[in-house]
């Protein structure tokens, strides 16, 4: 059991935990947290699978990709939070439950 494999597996577990929470939870902030944890899991797979041998130095290419990915997921988080706040201001809810009733017009 090499450390790289350990981290890869943990990444997948984090991804799954996040996926589960994203689907199950209603509260918008919790969904956002879940998506972030999913993302962390993916990034961990990226980096850990790029670790080769015992050199202990990760491949710079996936590192760069993960940096890009972190920024992208930060952007989504920021927009999602503002959307959630805005929605909360209009409906008083912190969930997506509103669109069923208001979908008529």
């Amino acid at each position: 059991m090499s450390p790289a494999l350990l981290y890869t597996g943990s990444g997948i577990i984090l991804f799954s935990i996040g996926l589960h929470a994203l689907l199950v939870h209603r509260h918008l902030l919790r969904k956002i947290l879940a998506a972030n944890i999913m993302g962390s899991g993916v990034f961990m797979v990226f980096i850990a699978m790029g670790v080769h041998g015992d050199s202990g130095v990760a491949d710079p290419v996936p590192q760069a990709m993960v940096l890009t990915g972190i920024v992208v997921s930060l952007c989504f988080t920021a927009v999602a939070i503002v959307l959630a706040v805005r929605l909360n201001k209009l409906t008083g809810c912190t969930t997506l439950a509103v669109d069923e009733e208001s979908s008529i017009d």
């Binding site: 993916v42 805005r86 509103v98 208001s102």
Partner: protein
């Protein structure tokens, strides 16, 4: 002159131009609409130049920075990319014209107008960057660019339903793209490259690769709203302002699908895709029937159109099971043709629905009763555009269905015939229902005058959509250049 055209990498300019214009529109909000219009005028010209350049030059792939491919990002001007660039330029141009009328520069909603332009230009640039990308990670970044812009555009309407739809779309997209990205990560970990061409050469049929493939396909299927993962689409597409609905249905859904096409035909041919192909075909078939039935039940025009998109996406996914060795080109071209035709037709339909909403005060289908005068013309435009959705000749949809049926017959998968046919009839039924209301002989109220820009652009686009089949030869030839398929387009039964 010729040299000037060949020497410039026009397809790259097509990504830089809208992105630059988006920044400009952000910096100068009062001039945003002019910046948008000029860009929308320039991009079709660039597309023509890019096509001309591509037909004259040999190379279809360059890399950013000219670094060798495992390291650099491949940017491709192959047939698929050029065709999508061109269609996006055409549809985008017309939608931009329409948006000029839809978002008045002065008056109550001017903040929406100001933010529409930079967001839309970002989306356009993102789409273009996506179409030319030959690198799985770069595709992820471009896809997210497109998604984020779409989310903001949906939310632009400002109502709570729109915000909820936008937020749901955001979560769904995140889910989809993270699944895709996980697959990319696994592929990179195994092969140390994310270049489509290199991966296509190296990939072996291991279980790990199959898992990566499943993840990527699942993520993209979610993003392209295939049944049963379509549940987010109707709300997202109907709650947005009309030009945005047009953009989403015509272009954004296609983005994920284009990636899927590239993956399926260029990255994964070595893998065992038959079962997944059949699964996608099955889901596509259900989507056709389910989407059409739901469209038939809708009370609101925009929802009807959105569900029709769900059904049309179903057709797109028939490509995968139908693409056997001998029918590969049929299915592939059919899919590409349907994408183009649907982009034109659906954009026109959403724009008409927006205009009707604007004019009649609601997009309830029953409000169309006795539609005459200005609305009558709109209904006609709607019908013309719907021709391509039903698959009436000479629209592109007709020839796409021809190719699908041809592929289904020759590959011996006759069970897709009744699906395609009932989809056609159901589509005719839901369009006829709209027409029926519009033709209903009742006394009608007078309607306000329709702005010029909200009437003519959809008309032009719907006529293009209806007659697309007559001019499809050139686009199809273009798409075939550098296509990952090499069988004849119209296949005959083998001996």
């Amino acid at each position: 002159m010729t040299e000037l055209i060949v020497q410039q990498q026009w397809f790259l300019w097509m990504t830089l131009l809208p992105l630059g214009a988006a920044v400009a529109a952000f910096l100068a909000p009062r001039q945003a609409h002019w910046i948008g219009l000029v860009t929308a005028l320039l991009l079709p010209l660039c597309a023509l130049a890019a096509i001309a350049a591509a037909t004259l030059s040999e190379t279809q792939t360059i890399t950013a920075g000219n670094w060798p491919t495992p390291l650099g990002i491949a940017l491709r001007s192959d047939g698929l990319a050029l065709v999508m660039l061109a269609v996006t330029a055409l549809v985008g141009f017309i939608i931009s014209c329409y948006a000029l009328g839809y978002f008045p520069v002065r008056g109550h909603h001017q903040s929406r107008a100001r933010y529409f332009w930079p967001l839309w230009l970002f989306l356009w640039g993102g789409c273009n960057a996506l179409f030319i990308s030959g690198d799985l990670f770069n595709l992820y970044v471009t896809l997210e660019l497109v998604t984020l812009a779409s989310v903001a555009l949906i939310a632009l309407e400002g109502g709570k339903a729109a915000l909820a739809a936008a937020l749901r779309y955001l979560f769904i997209s995140l889910l989809g793209s993270l699944a895709y990205l996980l697959g990319v990560g696994i592929l990179y970990g195994t092969y140390a490259t994310v270049d489509i061409i290199l991966l296509g050469d190296m990939l072996a049929a291991t279980r790990l690769n199959h898992a990566a493939m499943s993840l990527m396909i699942a993520g993209l299927v979610l993003k392209s709203a295939l049944f049963p993962l379509h549940f987010w689409l109707p709300q997202a597409h109907t709650m947005a302002p009309a030009p945005v609905s047009a953009v989403l249905s015509a272009l954004v859904v296609k983005c994920a699908y284009v990636i899927l096409l590239r993956l399926w035909f260029e990255v994964f041919p070595a893998l065992d895709t038959i079962a997944i192909g059949h699964l996608l075909g099955l889901l596509g078939s259900i989507a056709i029937i389910w989407g059409s039935l739901m469209a038939l039940r809708q009370e609101r025009l925009k929802l009807l159109i959105a569900y029709s998109t769900v059904a049309q996406i179903g057709y797109l996914f028939l490509v995968f099971p139908l693409a056997h060795t001998e029918t590969m080109a049929s299915a592939w071209i059919g899919g590409v043709l349907l994408m183009m035709a649907h982009a034109c037709g659906k954009a026109a339909m959403f724009m008409v629905a927006g205009t009707i909403h604007h004019t009649a005060g609601s997009d309830r289908i029953s409000r169309l009763a006795g539609a005459g005068g200005p609305i009558g013309v709109l209904v006609v435009v709607f019908t013309l555009a719907a021709g391509t959705i039903i698959g009436l000749p000479p629209s592109g949809g007709f020839f796409a269905k021809w190719l699908f049926i041809n592929a289904a017959l020759v590959s011996g998968q006759w069970w897709y015939l009744p699906i395609i046919l009932s989809g056609t009839l159901l589509a005719a039924a839901y369009i006829a229902r709209v027409l029926g209301w519009a033709f209903l002989d009742v006394k009608r109220s007078s309607y306000p005058v329709i702005p010029w820009m909200m009437k003519w652009p959809p008309l032009v686009l719907s006529i293009i959509a209806l007659l697309f089949g007559l001019i499809a030869y050139e686009p199809v030839q273009l798409a075939l250049s550098g296509a990952p398929v090499s069988s004849p387009v119209l296949v005959e039964f083998g001996p």
